[in-house]
């Protein structure tokens, strides 16, 4: 399919334009202050996740009941939790879990929504109609209820949680991709390639999809923020990872709500971790949107 022996003029021009689009976008992004802040926050978040075993002063499971609920001190920077474990170390390890769950749930959501949206947008007609009604049905159910239902159905576990969060995002991705595919269908360069006899699949893969991806990328970045919040929300409703020892921010925060009065810092730190990483993804997402779509920039 993709043997590009003799690229047509239109396609070559388009590819160049596309490369230019990305380069311009990157340049714009680098000039966007808030987006840079977001990028830094995310970088810190990712580095923390990777280096957690090396920088954490304690193991995520280390501690004893005798040391429980100690306030922050030089020994335990963020105090100790209900089981006497070092909260700071658990926050660091928690970055691994949140990053993993967030990224994978969004990848799953984008894949599911992408297939749905691409099929609908590319084929049109009756298939489009039916698929979009399915999307309507999914959107009509409040996301958190859908997620609760999926976890109730498939049981507790990180993969199930990822799937649940992915399923709440998938219809949104499907709609976005389909919408921008439809918008791209009639633009000049697509018409141009069609007029010179490019195949339907080729047009889709080489022209329409790449140009529709920008919206999806922005949506996916923003969805990372909501994914982290949604995972925490499931934890809040008692549907976190089955091994209670897992250092997951949402579950850590939820467990601590019972000790709000004795140890407010146990809410503060995981709460901050969630909010800060969500801010990072939100800033970057906004920045991406603005740089990828210059018309939005002001």
């Amino acid at each position: 399919m993709a043997t590009i022996t003799a690229p047509t003029t239109a396609a070559r021009a388009d590819a160049r334009a596309s490369r230019g689009l990305w380069r311009d976008a990157f340049r714009r992004l680098m000039r966007n202050g808030p987006a840079l802040v977001g990028l830094v926050l995310i970088a810190v978040f990712i580095i923390t996740a990777i280096l957690a075993p090396f920088i954490a002063p304690y193991g995520p499971l280390e501690g004893s009941l005798a040391d429980r609920l100690q306030p922050p001190s030089a020994v335990h920077l963020m105090g100790t939790d209900l089981q006497g474990r070092d909260e700071f170390s658990r926050i660091l390890y928690g970055a691994q879990v949140s990053l993993f769950v967030g990224v994978f749930s969004v990848i799953m959501g984008v894949t599911m929504g992408g297939i749905l949206g691409a099929t609908a947008g590319a084929t049109g007609g009756r298939v489009d109609n039916i698929l979009m009604r399915v999307v309507d049905v999914m959107l009509a159910v409040p996301g958190i209820l859908l997620a609760i239902g999926i976890v109730a159905w498939l049981g507790r576990g990180l993969p199930q949680i990822m799937l649940a969060v992915a399923a709440t995002n998938a219809p949104i991705f499907a709609r976005i991709l389909r919408g921008s595919l439809l918008a791209n269908r009639e633009v000049d360069y697509v018409n141009a390639s069609r007029s010179i006899g490019a195949g339907r699949m080729r047009i889709l893969m080489r022209h329409m999809l790449p140009n529709s991806l920008t919206a999806l990328i922005v949506a996916a970045t923003l969805a990372l923020a909501t994914a982290i919040i949604d995972v925490a929300g499931l934890g809040f409703l008692g549907l976190g990872p089955p091994d209670p020892r897992t250092p997951e921010w949402g579950t850590m925060l939820t467990d601590a709500t019972k000790f709000l009065r004795q140890a407010p810092y146990l809410i503060l730190f995981p709460g901050l971790a969630i909010v800060i990483s969500a801010i990072g993804f939100n800033l970057l997402g906004d920045g991406l949107r603005e740089s990828l779509d210059p018309r939005l920039k002001r």
Binding site: R133, V134, V141, P142, A152, W153, F236, L237, I279, N282
Partner: protein, 334 residues
């Protein structure tokens, strides 16, 4: 216009029908058993089987679905498995709670979001704009339960200036008619009770309204900026119209469009957020009921409440689309 509405309403029917089938299938795939949930620690396999039979759960699935659909078409939502009360009775008590909460949140979000957005647009790139941007960023980044618990802790537990939970002080004797606390207190002519109802609404409405607030603020800011640069606004200014008049007649009228759309889109999010907000504030609404029902495998309650959520969602979207067309006559009902 009428034709358009009818067509949209007809279009909703297959969606609802599909949803009812998916819901039904899904809910019966859930592991566990409502009969076991009903019996709790008293459950034995014999008792469980007996109760499954009484509830009709031993019949084939398709037969159960047909029965359910038949009931539904007759307007009968069925009964709760757990407490055996007709779902419609409980619904009529709980639904007004969710509506009151959602409207409260919307009023908070719209009432604050639009002025904030306009303010930010007028002072674009200034310190005020930065503040507003930070507020709206926090709004979408703080989970409802973090915000809700924090508000509850600060204002109800520590400062004790607002009640922690519930919809009305239980000491107030109120004759319930509509089950909308704010309406019933007014019907009873009890102004004190009305104020108490408002006080109970404040914290949950803020917690629930924070995300829409952030989004509405952003959209208002963006669309005001959009319109401000349009030719007709410049023309209006050039004609020497006062800023106020430009703002009211030219900018806002056109900036409303995307704002209205977003408000409509937020309703789905609000209903979802209500699930968590109602849990935090012991708010007697449909969201909390649904979560409990999922936990209890109360099949009929889950089916009914989610269907109703879906109907609301579809209706609101329809209203938004109609409002959209109304605000912008250029849009044809294609």
């Amino acid at each position: 216009m009428a034709k358009y509405i009818v067509r949209r309403l007809l279009g909703a029917i297959p969606v609802l029908f599909g949803l009812s089938i998916i819901l039904f299938a899904f809910i019966h795939m859930l592991p566990g058993d409502p009969a076991a949930a009903l019996l709790g620690q008293h459950a034995t396999p014999e008792l469980t089987a007996q109760i499954r039979e009484q509830l009709g759960l031993d019949k084939p699935l398709w037969q159960q679905y047909i029965n359910y659909l038949g009931q539904l078409l007759q307007g009968d939502l069925g009964k709760s498995i757990i407490n055996n009360r007709p779902i419609i009775d409980e619904f009529l008590i709980r639904f007004p709670g969710t509506i009151e909460l959602t409207i409260g949140a919307l009023i908070f979000a719209v009432g604050l979001g639009i002025p904030l957005g306009r303010f930010a647009a007028r002072h674009v790139q200034g310190a005020g704009d930065g503040m507003v941007t930070v507020i709206s960023l926090l709004g979408v980044s703080i989970p409802i339960f973090v915000l809700g618990l924090t508000l509850q802790y600060i204002f109800a537990v520590q400062l004790r200036i607002l009640p922690t939970s519930g919809r009305l002080d239980p000491r107030i004797q109120l004759e319930y008619q509509t089950n909308f606390v704010l309406i019933d207190t007014l019907l009873a002519g009890d102004l004190g009770a009305f104020v108490d109802g408002i006080r109970h609404l404040i914290l949950p409405a803020i917690a629930l309204g924070s995300i829409p607030l952030a989004i509405i603020t952003r959209i208002t800011r963006a669309s005001v900026l959009d319109v401000t640069n349009e030719d007709y606004v410049r023309t209006a200014r050039a004609k020497g119209l006062t800023e106020r008049r430009v703002d009211g007649r030219h900018i806002m009228r056109n900036a409303w469009l995307p704002v209205v759309t977003v408000i409509g889109l937020q309703v789905g999010g609000l209903l979802a957020g209500a699930v968590i907000t109602e849990t935090i504030f012991s708010w007697n609404g449909v969201g909390r009921w649904t979560v409990e029902a999922i936990q209890d495998h109360d099949y009929f309650v889950v089916q009914s409440t989610i269907l109703i959520f879906a109907v609301i969602f579809l209706i609101v979207n329809l209203i938004v689309d109609i409002g959209y067309a109304f605000l912008n006559p250029r849009i044809r009902y294609a």
